[in-house]
C-alpha cells in the first residue's frame, strides 16, 4: 500500500502537466480515440469523415490507433482492467460478432442511432442484410481476391480461381493468407465441389482433409502472408506470380503505383468492415461517439469514402453516388468489388460456419502448415 501511495504522490507532483484529458465541458467529450487498420484504408476514413467532422466541431480532437488487427484481444484486456480507452473500433464483421457475443461491444438500434437515407428509407432498410450483428455498424464491402503479374503469366492470363492451383500453366510462387479462411473454400471449389455445397463439405473431417490435400498440391510454391501489405510488396518485387489480398490493396498497386499487376476477380470472397462501440463508455464519451457515428455513416459520407479507396459503400443509397477517385480522376465504380462485371462469380463468406468451426479448422490448418 505504501508503495502505491508513494507512487501516486510522486506522479501527482511530476505529472501534473502531462495529464491533459477530456474535460467535461458541455455533455460531450472533446477527445475521441478511433481504432482502425492504418494505411490507405484509415486515410480514406480520415479524409472522408473524420477531418470534416473535426472541422464542423471546433475543439474536438481525434486520435488514431492502428490496432484493429488485435482489437478483440485488446478489448478483452481493457475490459478485464476496467479501463476502456477506445471510443470507436473498426473491425471486420467476424470480429464484431465475437465482440458482441462476449458483451464487449455495445448493442445498437440502427434506426435510432444511424441517419436515414436522403429519400427517407430507414437505416435498417438501407443497410439491409449487411447488419450481420446487433453491435455492428457496416461501412464498406470489401473482397479478398487475387492479383497477378501481367508480365509473368505469358499470353494467357489467369481467368479462373482454379488457375491458382494450376502449377503447369502458371509456374511460380503464390501468396496465400496464413489462415484457413478463404483458402479452404477456394481449394474445395477447385476440387470439384459445387459452390453451394462448400460449407457442407467443409463441416466434415473428410471435407477438411480434402481441402488440405488440394492445398498440398501447391504447398511448396506458397509464400504465406499475414499482413495486407505483404502481397502487394511480393507482387511488386516479382517474388510471386499471383497472390491473394484485399481488393483495395490491389487497386493501389495497379492504379496508384502503376505496377504490372492485374485483378483476378473470379470467386472473390465478400466481407464487411465497420464500427463497433465498446461497451462501458462514460455518458460524455458515448454522446460524442454517437454524434460522430451518425455523421460518419450517412449516405454522403460513405459515398465520399469511395473516392479514396476501392471498397463498396455499405449503404444501398450510397451506391449511385460513387464518383471519381479524388487524386487520379478515374471512375471508381469499375474498381468496386460489387461492380456487375467484377461480381460475375462471387463467393459468400459464411459467418456462422466460421464462428462454429474456426478453432477446430485453425488447429488442423496450423498442423498441416508445420508438416
Amino acid at each position: 500500500m505504501k508503495f502505491t501511495t508513494t507512487l501516486l504522490a510522486s506522479s501527482a507532483i511530476v505529472g501534473a502537466g502531462t495529464l491533459a484529458f477530456a474535460d467535461a465541458h458541455g455533455n460531450m467529450a472533446k477527445e475521441m480515440t478511433l481504432v482502425s487498420w492504418g494505411g490507405a484504408y484509415q486515410s480514406s476514413q480520415d479524409k472522408a469523415y473524420v477531418q470534416p467532422y473535426l472541422e464542423m466541431n471546433e475543439g474536438v480532437t481525434a486520435v488514431w490507433d492502428e490496432s484493429s488487427a488485435e482489437a478483440v484481444a485488446k478489448l478483452r484486456a481493457m475490459n478485464e482492467a476496467g479501463n476502456i480507452t477506445w471510443d470507436l473500433v473498426d473491425v471486420v464483421a467476424a470480429d464484431a460478432i465475437r465482440l458482441c457475443d462476449e458483451g464487449l461491444a455495445m448493442e445498437i438500434d440502427a434506426d435510432e442511432m444511424l441517419a436515414a437515407a436522403p429519400d427517407g428509407t430507414s437505416a435498417s432498410d438501407d443497410f439491409g442484410d449487411l447488419l450481420v450483428s446487433d453491435c455492428f455498424i457496416p461501412q464498406i464491402v470489401y473482397s479478398t481476391t487475387f492479383g497477378y503479374r501481367t508480365d509473368m503469366v505469358g499470353d494467357t492470363p489467369p481467368t479462373k480461381i482454379c488457375d491458382v492451383f494450376d502449377l503447369e500453366a502458371y509456374p511460380g510462387k503464390r501468396a496465400l493468407e496464413k489462415r484457413p479462411i478463404n483458402n479452404m473454400e477456394w481449394a474445395l471449389l477447385c476440387d470439384g465441389v459445387a459452390k453451394d455445397e462448400v460449407y457442407d463439405v467443409l463441416a466434415t473431417p473428410e471435407g477438411q482433409e480434402k481441402a488440405l490435400a488440394k492445398l498440398d498440391t501447391i504447398k511448396d510454391n506458397v509464400i504465406w502472408w499475414s499482413a495486407g501489405a505483404d502481397t502487394p510488396q511480393l507482387l511488386a518485387d516479382g517474388e510471386v506470380v499471383m497472390g491473394s489480398t484485399y481488393n483495395g490493396r490491389l487497386f493501389s498497386v495497379i492504379e496508384e503505383q502503376k505496377q504490372p499487376v492485374a485483378m483476378l476477380w473470379d470467386a472473390q470472397v465478400f466481407d464487411l468492415d465497420g464500427w463497433i462501440i465498446p461497451a462501458g463508455l462514460s455518458d460524455e464519451r458515448l454522446a460524442r461517439v454517437k454524434d460522430f457515428v451518425k455523421f460518419a455513416t450517412d449516405t454522403q459520407r460513405l459515398a465520399d469514402q469511395s473516392q479514396y479507396i476501392s471498397y463498396g459503400p455499405a449503404r444501398l443509397s450510397s451506391a449511385p453516388m460513387v464518383g471519381k477517385h479524388a487524386d487520379l480522376g478515374i471512375e471508381m465504380a469499375p474498381h468496386m468489388p460489387t461492380d456487375p462485371a467484377n461480381a460475375e462469380n462471387t463467393f459468400l463468406y459464411n459467418y456462422e460456419f466460421w464462428a462454429d468451426y474456426r478453432d477446430d479448422i485453425d488447429a488442423k490448418f496450423q498442423a498441416w502448415l508445420a508438416q
Partner: protein, 392 residues
C-alpha cells in the same frame, strides 16, 4: 616495418588451388544470383584457377595483368547484368589479380614473424577473414536499407532504374513524407519526450540504488538487487502485461507519465549494473577523507564520488536511453494512441503498410546513432588524455 622473412616464389600447386577455392566462393554468390549455386562454384573455381595460372606464369607483369583482369571481368559483368554487375566484376578482377600475385610471390609472409609454421600463417589470415565475414554479416542488413530509402517507388524493391543508377529511380520523397507527416512527427516528439525523462529517472534511481546496495551493512542486499534487476530477466511481455493491469488500476495507463515510469523501470537495471561495476574500484577511504575535512554526505557525493563513477553512470544512462527509445512491447500496453512512440509507429507502419518511409526513418536513426557514438567515443578519449591515462 622491415621484411623480416625471406620472400620466395611459391609453386603452382600451392597458389592455383587456393585462388580456385576463393573463386568458388565468389562463384557461389554469382551462381546463386543467377539460379544455380553449384554450377557457379564449379565455373568460379575453374575460371579463377586458370586465371591465376595465366597471369603469373604467362603474363608475369603484375600491372598489365591487373588492368587486363579488371577490364575483362568488368565486361563480363556488364554483359551479365548491366552497370552494377560491371562494377562488381571489376572489383572481382582487381581482387583476384592482386590475390594471385600476392600468393605467387609469397608476399603474404612478409609482415609476419619468420618463425610461424604454415599452420599458424594460415590461421593468422583465416582469423582475419572470419572477423571480416562476421562484420559483413552484421553490417549488410543495415547498409541494404540505406539505398532503398531513396527509392522512387513505394515498395522495398531495387527497381531496374535504381540498378542502372538512373537518377529517375531515386527520390527523397520518403524523407519528405517523414518530415511532413503529422503521425511521424508526433511519434518523434513523443519519443523525444519519453526517452530523456525515463533516462533521467533511471539514472537517478539506479545510481542511488547502486550506491546504497554497495554499502556492506545493508540487509538483504542480494535479494533487493535481484528484485531491482528482474525487469531485465523477466520476459518483456510479462512485465508489460503486469504493468498494464497495475497502471490501469492506479490511473496511469494511457498517460505519458505511465510510459515514462514503465520505461524507467526497464532502464534501472542497466544503470545499477554499470554503476555497481564502477563502484567496485571506488576507494571508500576517499569518502572518509572528505568527511574528515568537513564535507557533508551530499557534498561528498557530488564532489568526490560522482566524478569518479561518472563513466559508469553515463554508460548506464546511454543504455537506459536506448532501452526507452527502442522499446515497443511495453509502450503498446501501457501507452495509448496519444503516446505513440517512434518504434510503435514503425511497428504498425511495417505491419499495415510496407512503405519505404520506415527505411528513411531507419536511415536517419542510424545516422544519429553513429554521430552519438562518435561523440561519446571522442569525449571518452579526450577525458582519458586529460587524465593522462592513455599515451595518445
Amino acid at each position: 616495418m622491415v621484411a623480416l622473412t625471406p620472400i620466395s616464389r611459391k609453386p603452382v600447386s600451392f597458389y592455383v588451388p587456393v585462388v580456385a577455392a576463393a573463386g568458388a566462393v565468389a562463384g557461389l554468390f554469382v551462381g546463386t544470383a543467377n539460379g544455380s549455386g553449384l554450377l557457379g562454384i564449379l565455373i568460379g573455381a575453374v575460371i579463377m584457377g586458370a586465371l591465376a595460372f595465366v597471369l603469373t606464369q604467362i603474363v608475369k607483369n603484375e600491372q598489365i595483368s591487373r588492368w587486363a583482369t579488371i577490364v575483362a571481368l568488368g565486361i563480363v559483368g556488364f554483359l551479365m547484368g548491366g552497370i552494377p554487375a560491371m562494377l562488381i566484376g571489376a572489383a572481382f578482377g582487381w581482387f583476384f589479380s592482386w590475390f594471385s600475385f600476392w600468393l605467387y610471390e609469397g608476399r603474404y609472409r612478409a609482415k609476419i614473424p619468420p618463425y610461424l609454421t604454415p599452420g599458424q600463417v594460415l590461421w593468422h589470415y583465416a582469423f582475419r577473414v572470419i572477423c571480416g565475414a562476421i562484420f559483413v554479416f552484421l553490417i549488410t542488413p543495415i547498409l541494404v536499407v540505406m539505398p532503398l530509402s531513396f527509392n522512387a517507388e513505394n515498395f522495398f524493391t531495387f527497381t531496374p532504374e535504381m540498378l542502372r543508377f538512373d537518377p529517375a529511380g531515386y527520390s527523397l520523397k520518403h524523407y519528405q513524407d517523414f518530415f511532413n507527416s503529422s503521425d511521424w512527427q508526433g511519434a518523434v516528439w513523443n519519443s523525444l519526450k519519453i526517452a530523456p525523462a525515463a533516462t533521467l529517472l533511471s539514472v537517478s534511481f539506479g545510481t542511488l540504488a547502486a550506491i546504497g546496495l554497495s554499502q556492506p551493512h545493508v540487509p538483504f542486499r542480494r535479494a533487493i538487487m535481484a528484485v531491482l534487476i528482474s525487469p531485465m530477466i523477466v520476459p518483456l511481455i510479462i512485465s508489460a502485461a503486469g504493468m498494464y493491469f497495475f497502471y490501469s488500476r492506479v490511473g496511469l495507463q494511457g498517460t505519458t507519465l505511465g510510459v515514462i515510469l514503465a520505461h524507467a523501470a526497464l532502464g534501472i537495471p542497466f544503470v545499477i549494473i554499470t554503476v555497481t561495476a564502477t563502484l567496485v574500484g571506488f576507494d571508500r577511504s576517499l569518502t572518509r577523507a572528505a568527511a574528515n575535512m568537513g564535507a557533508n554526505p551530499v557534498t561528498t557525493f557530488f564532489r568526490v564520488q560522482m566524478p569518479l563513477i561518472l563513466p559508469g553512470v553515463i554508460s548506464g544512462g546511454l543504455f537506459a536511453f536506448i532501452t526507452s527509445f527502442d522499446e515497443v512491447v511495453v509502450v503498446l500496453f501501457v501507452g495509448s494512441a496519444g503516446q505513440k512512440t517512434l518504434p510503435w509507429q514503425m511497428f504498425t507502419g511495417l505491419r499495415e503498410q510496407i512503405s519505404p518511409t520506415i527505411l528513411a526513418v531507419a536511415t536517419i536513426l542510424v545516422g544519429i546513432s553513429i554521430c552519438l557514438l562518435t561523440v561519446v567515443e571522442l569525449l571518452r578519449r579526450r577525458s582519458e588524455r586529460l587524465r593522462g591515462m592513455s599515451p595518445g
